[in-house]
Structure formats: structure tokens, C-alpha cells
């Protein structure tokens, strides 16, 4: 059984009187430990695909099995639980809670997993150690650089030990130095066996991945293995 099995996945939206087919019949199988980049021009359906992979949305038709969970037709509460246990998100805009410290931000997924406060702290510290931020544990986001903020976000994505990490334009808000550092960090995670998806429109970001999925008009145009 593969980690991810996507079969004939489609998603359409109703925009006023027009029906938009954002995704039309995508098939993809992903094994544990792969590093995949998703590329495509805007409107190609890469955001929709990412939302479906991240269980933030359900497909109109088709099937999506993640780590033995058939998530294609799950109810909202079950989807929330799958997101909590199986998926680590990294966003372009970091999405950290401004009022909370780095540690509290990293603890957040564990709060919804029902982990005790003591264990939460220990695991959050462990995750921050992996991104080399142990010296910034009690800092709030506005006291951190962009690169550091994104590393806090990665620690938050790692803390629940998820099956997959989904990064949506993770370097989009970083300067080139911080961006390069971050990509190095992602490479390191891949080497340790994490499964990564990176959505990007930058070729040199995508080239860090082992395979690049090109989307166009809601379909997979080609898969480039490297």
C-alpha cells in the first residue's frame, strides 16, 4: 500500500452561473519518503490540488487515500483529525500567532491532539531543536527574522510527526539567503525520511525535489523525475 493514492480526482466550483473545473481527473501515487514539487501557472489547479491533499477540502469526484484513510468523503470532524495527525502545513505567510511565543506556536497542533501540557512542551522543544531555534523558544514572531519565522512554522509542521509535509510557496516571502537556508532545511528533512510536497512557481525551488509534477488546466501534464 502506497502512502498516497489519488485516483481520478476532480474538483469543480460554482462561480455564479459558471461552473469552474479546477481539477479534472488527477491520478498520482506517492510512496513514503518522496520529495515532490508541484508546479504550474496560475489557474492550473495547483492550489486546489494542495487543498485536497491537505484535507482542507473534499473532491467533487474521485478517490484520495492517505496512509490508509479514505479521506475523499470524510465528515468535517474526521477531516480535522486527519489534518491534525497526518499533515504538517507550511504557508507562504508563515501564519504564526502574533501573541504567542515560538514554543506556544509549535505546541498548537498538540493542543488539538489532546497532549498534556508537559509533554507538549517537551515535544515542541524537540521540534524547535530540529530547525535549530532552541535559542529563540520564548521569542514572539515580531522578534524573529523572516527565515526564523518560517523555521518556527516548519517546527510546528513537524511536531505532530505527520505522514506528509505540505509547503505552499515556503520561500515566497523570504530573501534569497533565508530562502536558500530554508530549502537546505527541507532537504535535510527529506534525508531523514519525511515525505514532502512543495508547491512553487520557481524552477530552482522545485529542483530541490526528487520529482516535479507539472499541472496545467487541472490535469497532470507531466511528471519529471530527477
Amino acid at each position: 500500500m502506497s502512502l498516497i493514492e489519488v485516483e481520478a480526482l476532480s474538483k469543480s466550483y460554482q462561480m455564479g452561473s459558471v461552473e469552474i473545473h479546477a481539477l479534472r481527473g488527477v491520478n498520482l501515487t506517492v510512496e513514503r519518503g518522496e520529495y515532490i514539487a508541484i508546479m504550474g501557472p496560475s489557474g492550473s489547479g495547483k492550489s486546489t490540488f494542495l487543498n485536497l491533499l491537505g484535507c482542507l477540502d473534499t473532491p467533487t469526484t474521485g478517490r484520495y487515500v492517505l496512509n490508509d484513510h479514505d479521506v475523499s468523503s470524510m465528515a468535517e470532524d474526521d477531516l480535522a483529525q486527519v489534518r491534525n495527525e497526518e499533515i504538517g502545513f507550511v504557508f507562504q505567510t508563515f501564519n504564526l500567532l502574533a501573541r504567542a511565543t515560538a514554543l506556544q506556536n509549535v505546541e498548537l497542533p498538540l493542543v488539538y491532539a489532546g497532549v498534556t501540557a508537559h509533554e507538549r512542551q517537551a515535544r515542541a522543544r524537540e521540534a524547535l531543536e530540529k530547525v535549530d531555534l532552541l535559542d529563540r523558544v520564548m521569542h514572539r514572531p515580531n522578534e524573529l527574522s523572516g527565515g526564523q519565522r518560517q523555521r518556527v512554522a516548519i517546527a510546528r509542521a513537524l511536531v505532530n510527526d505527520p505522514s506528509i509535509i505540505l509547503a505552499d510557496e515556503p520561500t515566497g516571502n523570504l530573501d534569497s539567503v533565508a530562502g536558500a537556508d530554508l530549502l537546505e532545511l527541507l532537504d535535510g528533512l527529506h534525508e531523514k525520511g519525511h515525505t514532502l510536497f512543495v508547491v512553487t512557481h520557481e524552477r530552482d525551488v522545485a529542483e530541490h525535489a526528487r520529482s516535479i509534477v507539472h499541472l496545467r488546466d487541472g490535469q497532470i501534464e507531466s511528471i519529471e523525475s530527477r
Binding site: 480535522a80 489534518r83 502545513f89 504557508f91 501573541r99 498548537l108 488539538y112 501540557a117
Partner: protein
């Protein structure tokens, strides 16, 4: 609704932090709640305190004492017209003498000069003069019936009553103004010009609320003497002549019901009432007064609840407005929480708890301000207060409920946000 206890605790902590981060806004939001709860707790303490001291005073009358009156608050409560009441036959000292013979009666007091037409006179001693005070004509049982302790000397006797002796028992007010330093017993004073001998002094009398309402501005003389000096005071009112005679009966132990029945029979016979005619006099007992009092305090409480509810409603609307703003401001945070695995009901509870922590803080403040107001009034004016624990519980319960109820709509909105849209909200 199942919610993990650890998460609830976490939500509570988060709520506190949010409020701490928005002190000014939170403070303004809860003003209405604070006012409402202050009103509830403060007014409860005052009303309850007054109520308690009134009941104590009532109990001072004795549970068995029966007042025979031409009319009373009870006849007003049962919808009688004032004109009809004033036209009822007057009670007389002879009525009292007739009732005195009843088996069930232990002793009886006749009082002249109390009530509507009370005349106020001055007492003088060696050039010193009191203000106008109430002069009561009574029997030798006056002090026993009213449970009034004697501070010095004695009360007059049946013999002195019968022989219309010019003897007087002073209340605290004339005592203080005429005999601040000397022993009054045996001294000759003038009551409205006529000479009396002081034979006794009454102790302070209880009053509702512990206020000085002139309850000690009095002197008591034998009612026979009163009749010959002042006559029976009367009041003319649209064709009815009203004379104030109050008869107080203390029945023998365990004979109250019998006494009530017998007094009613005797009075009906004396007034020549036919079987189908209603009583034209009132028999007032402590429990009857207590019932009327209870109805009054209940009405006050009801008014209090209505006023507080309006304040709480205003406070609640403020909470709703602020929570709606908060949800809008924190849309992307809600999206993030959902992405990280928060279930809709967990988001719902987060905002509900936040709203009720907010209003509960207002409630705590209101309880403190309300009981503080009560205590302040008590220390400044001596007004009796009572701070029952249930008024605190009520205040806190109400304030938390306001948060839950008015936080519901914004919280439901937050819980239903689409995670994708919310995440990308700026």
C-alpha cells in the same frame, strides 16, 4: 458535546491571554455587565438587609399578638375604598373592656394617640422643653404587649390607670433632652401644660432599618388620664369621624386561634353586624403583616431584576459586537487553527469561553463593586445590609450566561468559517 478537559483548560488560558492583550477594549465591553451585576448585588444587599431588620422588628411584636384595628394595610390590600374604611365604626376603650373578659385573652392594651390623628405635644421640666413628641395613652400592659424593656423605674399600675393618675413613662428622646445628667424618677414635668410625675423610662425601641424614624419620640400616660386631658383624638374625613383607638391583645399560650375567633365574634356582636355582612374591623397578626411585607419585597425584587436585565442586555449586545469584531479580525487565525486540526466545536467553544471569561470578569467586578457599595452605605448611614452568598453566585452565573448567550452568534460564525478562505484572509 464531548470536549477534552485539557483542551478546555487550554481554551481558558487562551481566552485570558486574548483579554489581557486587549485590556482597554475588554474593559469598555464589560461596562454594561459590570453595571448590571453591581445593581443586582448591591441592591440585593440593601433590600435583603432592610427586609431582615424589618422582620426582626416584626418578630419583636410577638408571634401571637393580635391587633384589633378599625382598618389597616390589610383592608387596603383587599381593595376597600378609603372612604368606606373611614366610615367604619370607631373602636372604643369599651370594646377593649369587653374583650378583656374573654377566657383566651391573657392581657390587653388600649392605645390612644397613635395612628393617623396622633397629636404631638411638648413636655417641659424647669424651663427645658422637648420638641413635639407623641403622647400615648395606654394601659398598664403597654410595655409587655410591645415587648418594650424598661430602663429605669416602673410602669403604671392598674390602680393608677383606674384613678387617672398623672404619671408618665418617658421614651429615650424626652429623657435625653430633659434629664441628660439627672435621675428623672420622681421628678415633676409638664405634659402639654399639666403636671405629671415621671415614674419610669423606656429603653430604645426597634425600628425598621435601624433608622431613627422617631420611634423613641414618645411618652406614655394612662389612657384614662389621656381621655380627660385630650379627649379621644379624632379626625374628620368626608363625612366620617375617625378616632384612633388601637387595641392590642396577647392571647394565652396556645390560644391564638381561639382568641381570634372569639374577638371576631364579640366585635361583630358589638357592631351589630348581620350574618351576611362582612367584618367592619381588622384583626392584624404578625404573620398577616409579614405576608404583606413579603409581597412588597417581592415586587421590589422583581423591579430590580427588570432593571438589571436591561443593563445586562446592553452589556450583552456590547459583548456580541466585540466578539463579532474579534472573529473578523482573527479570521486567518481561525483558518490556521482549523488547518492544524481544530474541530468546528472546538473553535465554537474557544469563542464562547472567551466571551464568558470577558463577562465573568465583569461579573467579578460587579460583585466587588456591589458588595462594596452595600458596605459603604452600611458604614456611612448604618443602613442594615445582608450579603448572601447566593447573590454572588447569581451575579457570576448571570454574567457568564450573558457571555454564552451573546457570544453564541459570533462563535457559531467562527466555527463555520471555511478553512481555505479563512487562511488566506488578510
Amino acid at each position: 458535546m464531548k470536549l477534552r478537559a485539557a483542551l478546555l483548560r487550554e481554551i481558558g488560558v487562551m481566552a485570558f491571554e486574548t483579554l489581557r492583550a486587549n485590556k482597554m477594549r475588554s474593559a469598555l465591553t464589560i461596562v454594561g455587565v459590570v453595571i448590571g451585576i453591581t445593581a443586582i448585588v448591591g441592591m440585593t444587599s440593601l433590600v435583603r438587609g432592610f427586609d431582615r431588620s424589618f422582620r426582626e422588628m416584626l418578630e419583636g411584636l410577638g408571634p401571637n399578638t393580635i391587633f384589633v384595628a378599625k382598618f389597616s394595610g390589610i383592608s387596603f390590600m383587599s381593595g376597600n375604598d378609603f372612604i368606606d374604611l373611614i366610615r367604619r365604626p370607631n373602636l372604643t376603650p369599651d370594646d377593649a373592656r369587653a374583650l378583656e373578659r374573654l377566657e383566651s385573652v391573657r392581657f390587653i392594651d388600649t392605645m390612644l394617640g397613635s395612628g393617623l390623628s396622633n397629636s404631638r405635644e411638648r413636655i417641659s421640666y424647669r424651663g427645658e422643653e422637648t420638641k413635639r413628641i407623641q403622647i400615648l395613652g395606654a394601659t398598664e400592659y403597654f410595655a409587655q404587649v410591645g415587648f418594650i424593656p424598661l430602663e429605669a423605674g416602673r410602669f403604671f399600675t392598674a390602680g393608677e390607670l383606674q384613678h387617672r393618675r398623672a404619671v408618665v413613662v418617658l421614651g429615650q428622646t424626652p429623657l435625653e433632652s430633659l434629664f441628660p445628667f439627672t435621675d428623672p424618677i420622681g421628678k415633676k414635668v409638664r405634659v402639654a401644660g399639666e403636671q405629671y410625675t415621671v415614674i419610669g423610662v423606656m429603653g430604645p425601641r426597634p425600628s425598621p432599618g435601624g433608622f431613627n424614624v422617631g420611634q423613641d419620640d414618645l411618652a406614655v400616660i394612662p389612657y384614662t388620664r389621656y381621655q380627660s386631658q385630650f379627649g379621644v383624638p379624632s379626625l374628620n374625613w368626608s363625612g366620617g369621624q375617625h378616632r384612633d383607638v388601637t387595641i392590642t391583645v396577647v392571647p394565652r399560650d396556645g390560644q391564638r386561634a381561639v382568641a381570634l375567633r372569639e374577638i371576631e365574634q364579640v366585635m361583630r356582636i358589638r357592631h351589630g353586624l348581620r350574618l351576611d355582612e362582612p367584618n367592619d374591623f381588622d384583626l392584624v397578626t404578625q404573620d398577616a403583616v409579614a405576608r404583606i411585607w413579603q409581597q412588597t419585597t417581592q415586587a421590589v425584587f422583581l423591579a430590580l431584576v427588570v432593571i438589571s436585565s436591561i443593563a445586562l442586555l446592553v452589556g450583552g449586545i456590547g459583548v456580541m459586537a466585540i466578539m463579532t469584531m474579534s472573529v473578523t479580525e482573527r479570521t486567518s487565525e481561525i483558518g490556521l487553527r482549523k488547518a492544524l486540526g481544530a474541530k468546528p466545536r472546538e473553535i465554537l467553544w474557544q469563542f464562547l469561553v472567551e466571551a464568558s471569561v470577558l463577562t465573568l470578569a465583569g461579573g467579578v467586578l460587579g460583585v466587588l463593586l456591589g458588595s462594596g457599595t452595600g458596605l459603604l452605605v452600611h458604614f456611612i448611614s448604618g443602613f442594615p445590609i445582608s450579603l448572601p452568598w447566593w447573590s454572588f453566585a447569581l451575579g457570576l452565573g448571570f454574567s457568564a450566561t450573558v457571555g454564552l448567550v451573546f457570544g453564541m452568534v459570533p462563535a457559531i460564525r467562527a466555527s463555520r468559517l471555511d478553512p481555505i478562505e479563512a487562511l488566506h484572509h488578510e
